[in-house]
């Protein structure tokens, strides 16, 4: 069933159609929320609230954009509002002022789980950087879609992506640099 049929059925009051929508977009919402919010209980609560909001606002969605973009926008805004209320990780927006904790001192090429290592660094980045990285790399959103979700100018989105990747390279190079240079 495509999104238009799904939305039509939901607006007609079909609960199973809404279950299907949740199944379809659960991954997207989880990724957005889990990258922005730390506590597991808060994450689930927020994911529920996102889908409640989606349900309540569905009649205002007219397919001017993709349904996934619209849902991601709701998830992003709700997560940001949640963090503002909790005043967590909202102190700095400047990547350069973040003091990254690499974690393991004995990190070597042999014991390095590179993906986990990068995830831990991403988790320490300011909110805007985490959002942009998630939407671009994890969800495969285009620049205009990221602009729509976050409300940031396209230049800022590109800049954040560039700087975040540069920072991740800088931080991980000491550990895997040798391997790369050998190739």
């Amino acid at each position: 069933m495509d999104d238009k049929d799904l939305v039509k059925k939901i607006l007609e009051g079909n609960q199973w159609a809404y279950r299907e929508l949740i199944q379809k977009y659960q991954r997207l919402v989880v990724h957005m929320v889990a990258r922005l919010v730390e506590n597991d209980q808060d994450r689930e609560e927020l994911c529920q609230d996102v889908f409640v909001k989606v349900y309540e606002k569905l009649d205002t969605f007219h397919f001017d954009s993709r349904l996934s973009t619209w849902i991601a926008t709701i998830a992003y805004r709700m997560a940001v509002n949640f963090l503002k209320k909790k005043k967590r990780r909202m102190d700095t927006e400047d990547l350069d002022s973040v003091r990254f904790e690499v974690g393991q001192e004995d990190l070597t090429l042999e014991n390095l789980d590179y993906s986990a290592f990068i995830q831990s660094l991403v988790a320490q980045m300011p909110l805007n950087y985490r959002s942009v990285l998630t939407l671009y790399h994890l969800e495969g959103f285009s620049y205009p879609e990221i602009v729509e979700v976050t409300g940031m100018p396209e230049g800022t989105v590109k800049n954040y992506l560039f700087r975040a990747r540069k920072k991740l390279k800088e931080l991980s190079e000491p550990y895997i640099g040798k391997e790369i240079h050998q190739i």
Binding site: L11, G13, Q15, Y18, R19, I22, Q23, Q26, R27, V30, H31, A34, R35, D40, R43, E44, C47, Q48, D49, F51, V52, Y55, E56, D59, Y114, S115, F117, I118, Q119, V122, L133, H137, L138, R165, L168, K169, S172, E173, I176, I180, I183
Partner: protein, 108 residues
Amino acid sequence: MKKKTNFDQRLDVALGQPPRYSLPDDFSDRVLQKIALRRQATDKRAGYVLWGATAGFVALATVCFALFLDRESLLKVLDISEWAVLTGVLVAVFQVLDHKLLQRKLPT
């Protein structure tokens, strides 16, 4: 166009890994339950507002009736053209109440 290095490729793969968190299996049930609870609360609130509006309207009608009890005044009230603005406002208020409270698409 710049060719991606092995380093970039590894970074892309790492950034494409989802966070290690998943929702419970009955997540959709919980969402639907939450929607139903919110609907109940909204229904209840709408009921209170509707009853309040009805009571207000009846009270207002009673006051008007008492004030214009004599036949001459009552006939004046019935001359609706003189009360066009008030009638318009009342109709608008009831339209808004109807639209917001009664015809609103509520979860099923």
